[in-house]
Assembly symmetry: C2
Homo-oligomer: 386 residues x 2
């Protein structure tokens, strides 16, 4: 197996991009990553996208984006795993380069979501659940997260206010991320007053669905452009694990088993223990997801994950910083692109390019993306090797 | 790189499967392929699908199908490249096993198309074209193929009746394929009288969009179940090549450049010349596609591909049999699944399991799938190694 390195990164701001098309959005990120990689020309492109066929009536993004990025002749196709689509595309790029079949791959996550309005947006998002048994009776991802949250509060006898720590942290970290959707910190008071979505889940428990594109260029070590391109970042662990799609098919729905197994496998591959990373990029699309992911990963005991956000352990200067550039909640959640944003942000930290959000000299990052309630869990370990 | 072998194959009949769901359809093929592989348990599943999010309101098929096939805990996600989705998923499974990250992968192509009725079906199929510049002004894939056909007839000064050879051949080969949609041969007379779709393209120039699922288990040689599982089939070449998505961006729209380059690269990888294969499985979703693919692959001169079907060269007992189990036209075209059906049929031939369609002792197959008018071209070389 060939070692796989990050050669370049690119991203657009996350937001409501009504004025530009899907392919323009993606192309901006692809070209930026290409420049950052010193002009290295990819021979493959893997695209993480969730909704283009429904929202933009556009499939076959491989051909569309390769053409617009001036890369016809390469290999390209789309990869989908709901909210984890971008992470799955990254996994794919990693395997392609590691296999030796591809020298340099660009992985791009892109989503245009906000063109969708009205009731259609709920039913469209519900495609990530089991349509026959969950979406048809009316379950959306938010309703599903509300049920998980209710069960969690009930099982451990706690009040919902204790989860406020997660959105507060995310918004605080987003303030100085120029690509984040929100630049305003929020308070516990705001969380308490936040309008209800699916009891007990409120607006501030949910990451905003948004538009955006992020890209990463992956290559072999000998093709890297040298010291000018900054520190060398290696992908040292990678794992995809599937749990049941439907929540009702799980013996213990608060376990997020796939998230735990995927984290464990990625760390084993990297030859490290989960505690040996310097920060975590987690899927906090719902506050309760962040809590359950931390517990499944062994960072807290079952029923105690919520304490981490209150104790300051997860802050930029804490013991184990999470969502260092704002996470899905603060940066915004361009669904199929979020997994690539997470990787890009981890690389920013490892390179020392995170600006006012920089954590001191991090060597190793753990990045986890969830598709649905950890129905798909994808984890990567990134390492700076100087 | 690790050698990748076909351990098992499975398929459902192609047709209108209104009575069973997407996941049941896929699971039938997956389980059949698993049994055929001697019960070898996959650790990854790659799903080729084009329309589930639009037709069945279902994304995240990785989790859905892994669960229904009793395979939670494995890696799984969806791959999309329009009509070539199944072939892209196969390419992906091939790379995953070749890289050593995955021991055994099951690749499944699945499509439920016929639940879609009325004008929505045309606009949905048009997603494979460039939406902004082709679909919006009204161009469907059939209209696109009609334009290509018109240009071909005009440039080479021939009558459309000469293309009849392709659907006649496909239907003749489908008669004895139990999984084919059609079991009736057609005549030149029927072709002449066939209703017009997009002049000069008529109904019999088009493969019928349909439902179906096909699966292939891929593994390393040392994990094969032994002689009981029949002859050993190796993937000896693989290539994906992208052309522009929009036809108007090509200098020569009759060239099908990506198809030619992809075939060339796959053959080089396999260390053979295209003429050294014993048969071809081509994308004949439109008669003109088959003609242009044969020309781009060097099997005929430009403007002369149509002659091959008239001369009998492409018949089961001809010099270079094509679409040996009926092709997309005769077997039916379950869009995102077709690429996997083509592979399954090639394996049937190489194993000597093609029944009354068996060609004598074939050693090597070339399988090519096109997404759109060769916007995406994917080619594989399969070889029997005894």
């Amino acid at each position: 197996m060939i070692d796989v390195m990050v050669a370049g990164i690119g991203q657009t701001p996350v937001g409501e991009h009504w004025d530009i098309s899907l392919h323009t959005l993606a192309t901006k990120a692809i070209l930026q990553a290409g420049r950052d990689a010193g002009g290295l020309k990819p021979d493959a492109m893997y695209i993480g996208n969730y909704l283009a066929s429904v929202v933009s009536h556009q499939s076959n993004l491989g051909a569309l984006l390769a053409e617009h990025a001036g890369l016809t002749g390469i290999e390209a196709y789309t990869i989908e795993a709901a909210d984890a689509s971008g992470a799955a595309a990254f996994r794919n790029g990693y395997m392609a380069v590691a296999s030796g079949y591809v020298d340099t791959a660009v992985v791009v996550g892109v989503e245009k979501y906000t063109d969708l309005v009205g009731p259609k947006s709920d039913s469209t998002l519900a495609q990530a659940t089991d349509y026959d048994y969950e979406a048809v009776p009316g379950l959306t991802p938010a309703a599903q997260a509300g049920m998980l949250m209710q069960r969690y509060l009930y099982d451990y006898g706690i009040e919902k206010e204790v989860l406020a720590g997660f959105p507060i942290l995310a918004h605080a970290n987003a303030v100085h991320n120029p690509n984040a959707m929100y630049h305003k910190p929020i308070t516990a008071e705001a969380y308490r007053k936040s309008p209800m979505v699916c009891s007990p889940l409120n607006t501030l428990d949910m990451a905003p669905y948004a538009d955006g594109a992020a890209a990463v260029v992956l290559t072999r070590r000998d093709l890297l452009c040298g010291e000018d391109c900054g520190p060398t970042i290696k992908i040292s662990g990678s794992s995809v694990v599937i749990d049941t799609l439907a929540l009702h098919d799980r013996h213990d729905m608060l376990a997020f088993r796939a998230a735990g197994i995927s984290l464990d496998r990625a760390c084993r591959k990297a030859g490290i223990l989960p505690g040996e990373v310097d920060f975590l990029e987690l899927s906090d699309n719902f506050s309760i997801y962040a809590v359950l992911a931390l517990e499944s990963g062994g960072f807290a005991n079952r029923g105690e994950g919520w304490k981490l956000a209150l104790d300051g352990d997860l802050n930029l200067n804490g013991r184990m910083p999470v969502c260092t550039m704002g996470g899905l909640k603060g940066r915004g959640h361009p669904i199929g692109a979020s997994g690539v944003y997470q990787i890009v942000e981890a690389v920013q930290q490892l390179r020392g390019q995170a600006g006012r959000n920089q954590i001191p000299n991090p060597k190793r990052a753990l990045v986890q993306s969830l598709g649905g309630p950890a129905s798909t869990a994808i984890t990567h370990v990134l390492e700076r090797i100087d």
